[in-house]
């Protein structure tokens, strides 16, 4: 672990050259380039879905690129798996650290490359001693024999960093490392980043927080929709320019034209508070309106919606539906009061994938299709056919298991399920995440149709074009609080990003 001499800034330690990665129906990365220099922190910036995580996965050997080259010190390499990436000195510290709670700190640090003694057994003494050296080097006051589960999240990050150093890493990728840390811990992390820089390591720093990017990064690289937009030295750029690069695109999707007729207030949320997830949430929703909720991942949008839907319990606060105060203790209560929720995690929370389409659609409406608690299949098929046809569902038959459908069609089944309950308020959480363009358009068109029919729609979305294209009004959340409410004429990509990231208005 000798500190490497600070190399000349020109010689790149790692670079991506025109790397492309495709998934069925999506081009996640399109000929992107990225260059990392020793002793420098490069901030990778982009919206959700810009391709940042895909880059991390390619650099750590989890994904293989479909085109382009990866160069380590100028020589093309193949990172076939995580071991190969580690062998080239590339290591990643993730948002949620991938460590083992039941093992000791030293075992975590040296898992897979522990010092060996006689008979090839792990030399525990040497391992603990080396672990102690590394921890001392990064000034982490952690005993290497402690079990990991007994450490705080911040200390676990330190262990992850120690692990990165133990493999003699030359490139350290930090994927939103401060997301789960307190203010004090964040400052300690910054100090650590400075140390790693001094040792000549190249750091790829992924973050949504502009203040920290400007504090610790030397260089930046911006991605947008899987494409490289630009890079350069951080002192040559302003926050405004970065935001512009992140969002400044021609809106290529076509959104349905709407002339909203906003009616009476249907939902009023007053003073919703949760001990850890959100605080002081107040908003109203009217008939025929599409209300967008924008924010960064972890801003508490889904948590608010799930509280509203009776999954989690808010500490305090009240809900009025059609002017009546209602208590929602469970999703069953919410559905009974006309609030339905299309969750983000379709496979786990939205659809029951092993059951046929018609049974998924009728599940919350069985009281209407049945008589005296007895199923009436003909009525079920009729209801399912009615609502799935409206959404232009494509399937072999209504008895097809939902798991056999594409993501977009699964989403249509979930939406059909809720429409069949004839709700007053429909909450859509990332309704078009991970679905193909065609289904996206169908979902958008249908949302517009629902609003036109007088339904109140809440759309939680992290996609700026979708928020701008669909919403009549947008609420921006940041760190569990509502930080802005913007009308149609106040919505611009820049304001959304600024408010969500907490960038001051004055700039």
């Amino acid at each position: 672990m000798q500190p490497q001499p600070k190399a000349a800034a020109q010689s790149a330690i790692l670079s991506l050259d025109a790397v492309t990665k495709e998934f069925p129906g999506v081009r996640a990365l399109s000929e992107v380039s990225l260059t990392l220099y020793p002793g420098q922190v490069t901030a990778l910036i982009g919206e959700n879905g810009a391709g940042k995580s895909t880059v991390v996965k390619i650099l750590t050997g989890i994904y293989q690129p479909d085109g382009g080259r990866i160069l380590v010190e100028g020589k093309p390499v193949t990172l076939a798996n995580a071991q190969a990436a580690a062998a080239h000195g590339i290591t990643a510290i993730h948002q949620e650290t991938v460590l083992f709670d039941e093992l000791s700190v030293a075992e975590n640090i040296f898992l897979g490359h522990a010092p060996r003694g006689r008979f090839g057994l792990i030399d525990t003494k040497a391992m603990v001693a080396q672990a102690r050296d590394i921890l001392t080097e990064i000034e982490a006051p952690i005993d290497p024999t402690t079990r990991l589960r007994d450490l705080s999240i911040a200390s676990k990050h330190l262990v992850a960093i120690a692990r990165a150093l133990s493999i003699d890493a030359r490139v350290v990728i930090m994927d939103e490392p401060t997301a789960a840390l307190s203010h004090k811990e964040i400052n300690e992390l910054y100090d650590l980043v400075e140390k790693l820089k001094a040792q000549g390591k190249a750091i790829l720093f992924i973050s949504h927080k502009f203040d920290e990017i400007f504090r610790i990064a030397d260089r930046y690289a911006v991605f947008r929709d899987g494409q490289f937009v630009g890079d350069g030295a951080i002192q040559d750029v302003t926050q405004g320019e970065l935001v512009q690069m992140m969002v400044g695109r021609a809106v290529d999707q076509i959104f349905p034209k709407r002339s909203p007729r906003v009616g009476d207030e249907v939902l009023k949320v007053v003073g919703y508070d949760h001990p850890t997830e959100f605080a002081d949430i107040n908003f109203t929703l009217r008939r025929g309106e599409i209300l967008g909720f924008y924010g960064l991942i972890g801003a508490g949008r889904s948590e608010v919606m799930q509280a509203l839907y009776g999954i989690t319990k808010p500490g305090k606060g009240a809900v009025r539906i059609d002017g009546q105060v209602r208590v929602i203790r469970s999703p069953a209560d919410a559905v009974a009061h006309g609030i339905v929720y299309v969750p983000e995690d379709r496979g786990r929370q939205g659809a029951i994938t092993a059951l046929p389409i018609y049974q998924n659609v009728t599940l919350p409406s069985l009281h209407r299709t049945s008589r005296n608690g007895f199923l009436r299949l003909a009525h079920e098929f009729a209801l399912a056919r009615d609502y799935t046809a409206r959404l232009d569902l494509r399937a072999a038959s209504l008895e097809t298991a939902v798991g056999n459908l594409s993501g977009g069609n699964q989403q249509k089944v979930v939406i059909a399920k809720w429409l069949a309950t004839q709700p007053k308020v429909i909450i859509l959480d990332e309704p078009t995440k991970g679905i193909d363009i065609g289904s996206k358009a169908a979902v958008h068109e249908f949302m517009a149709e629902l609003a036109a029919q007088g339904l109140a729609v809440i759309m939680v979305s992290s996609e700026i074009p979708e928020v701008l294209g669909m919403s009549d009004r947008v609420i921006v959340m940041r760190q569990g609080r509502i930080v802005a409410e913007l009308g149609k004429d106040e919505m611009t990509p820049e304001t959304l990003v600024r408010r969500a990231a907490g960038i001051g208005e004055t700039e």
């Binding site: 839907y309 999954i311 469970s330 999703p331 069953a332 919410a334 559905v335 009974a336 339905v340 929720y341 969750p343 786990r348 929370q349 939205g350 659809a351 029951i352 994938t353 092993a354 059951l355 018609y358 049974q359 599940l363 919350p364 069985l366 009281h367 049945s370 608690g373 007895f374 199923l375 098929f381 056919r385 799935t388 046809a389 409206r390 959404l391 232009d392 569902l393 494509r394 399937a395 072999a396 038959s397 209504l398 008895e399 399920k417 309950t421 169908a442 068109e445 249908f446």
Partner: protein
């Protein structure tokens, strides 16, 4: 978006075709094969009274198995059922000692079953504990109470009218237990396959989270299933106690595994989500036929349990082997 240009059919396969290709059809073939084998193997097999006696091998277990099938389909399990049988029997025995009437005994038996089921259900649904752990615990707890009450002794002296539930015949060779078995099979079959409640059971077993998000009252459904399982253990206890005429704390020992075997043999996925009552009914007959046939051939009990075990693994593995061979 015009709804008519792309028509999605309700079904691609008629319900009849589906039934012919089902697990139940395979089981039925196995049952017929065993029946035929037994008929040739022993001259005493094809005798109405002998066959009637043979049904006692499975009727009580099957009553519990019906409720257990629903519970397992919903993704839970109750391993304490045999101990509930013992505790309910002990309670009835104690009541019989102070001269309780048959009707009162039945009420006591069923009530103890319900209370035990409610206890299991509360621990699982309110406390959120895993049912396999909870019911292994209550398995020891419930039977432990019987051992404390009875020790080495036994309760006897049940009133004459109480004999009917385990020893009585409704008509010719048709016993009360067989009738109860048939009625309960029908009732549970209807509950699981034809009602909203049954649909909820399948949904919860396939994905409890999505079921909750779909507005089902998941906890309530599971609690009701634990209640039903306890109640059925109470019913089985009434029949078994009546048939034996006495209560020892070891009554029904090991029954829970035979019940679970019956349910799994009947095609219920042990991980939840799928299975049918007709499957469990046929599995009950198969287990009864095998036990009875081997008994006629003077095969000792320990060998019988080996045969049942082999049958279970064989029937479960065959389709998988078939698919591997084809595939």
């Amino acid at each position: 978006m015009s709804p008519t240009d792309r028509f999605i059919p309700d079904r691609l396969q008629s319900p009849l075709t589906r039934r012919v290709k089902s697990w139940e059809t395979l089981l039925l073939a196995v049952a017929v094969a065993i029946f035929t084998f037994n008929a040739f193997a022993s001259p005493y097999f094809l005798n109405a009274w002998n066959l009637s006696d043979a049904t006692f091998n499975f009727t009580e277990k099957a009553m519990i198995a019906f409720a257990m099938a629903l519970l397992i389909i919903a993704g839970e399990i109750d391993l304490s059922v045999a101990s509930i049988v013992a505790l309910a029997s002990t309670a009835m025995g104690a009541a019989a000692q102070i001269g309780a009437s048959p009707a009162v005994l039945v009420v006591i038996g069923l009530t103890v079953g319900l209370i035990c089921g409610a206890f299991n259900g509360l621990l699982v649904t309110v406390m959120g504990l895993p049912s396999i752990v909870v019911t292994i615990g209550t398995m020891s707890l419930f039977r432990g109470i019987s051992y404390i009450v009875l020790g080495d002794t036994a309760y006897g002296g049940y009133p004459a009218g109480f004999k009917f539930f385990g020893q009585g015949y409704v008509w010719w060779v048709i016993s009360f237990e067989l009738v109860a078995f048939a009625v309960l099979a029908l009732a549970f079959g209807v509950l699981l396959h034809l009602t909203n409640f049954g649909r909820a059971v399948y949904a919860i077993g396939n994905n409890p989270v999505a079921s909750l998000f779909s507005g089902l009252r998941v906890g309530r459904v599971k609690f009701i299933l634990f209640l039903l399982t306890g109640l059925m253990a109470g019913v089985a206890s009434v029949c078994l106690t009546s048939r034996l005429g006495s209560t020892r704390p070891s009554i029904g020992f090991g029954m829970e595994l035979e019940v679970v075997t019956m349910v799994v043999l009947g095609g219920v996925n042990i991980l939840g989500g799928s299975g049918t009552i007709p499957g469990v009914v046929i599995a009950a007959f198969i287990m009864g036929l095998v036990t009875f046939g081997l008994g006629l051939l003077n095969v000792p009990g320990i060998v019988m349990s080996i045969v049942i075990g082999a049958l279970l693994i064989g029937v479960i593995a065959l389709p998988r082997l078939w698919a591997m061979w084809r595939g």
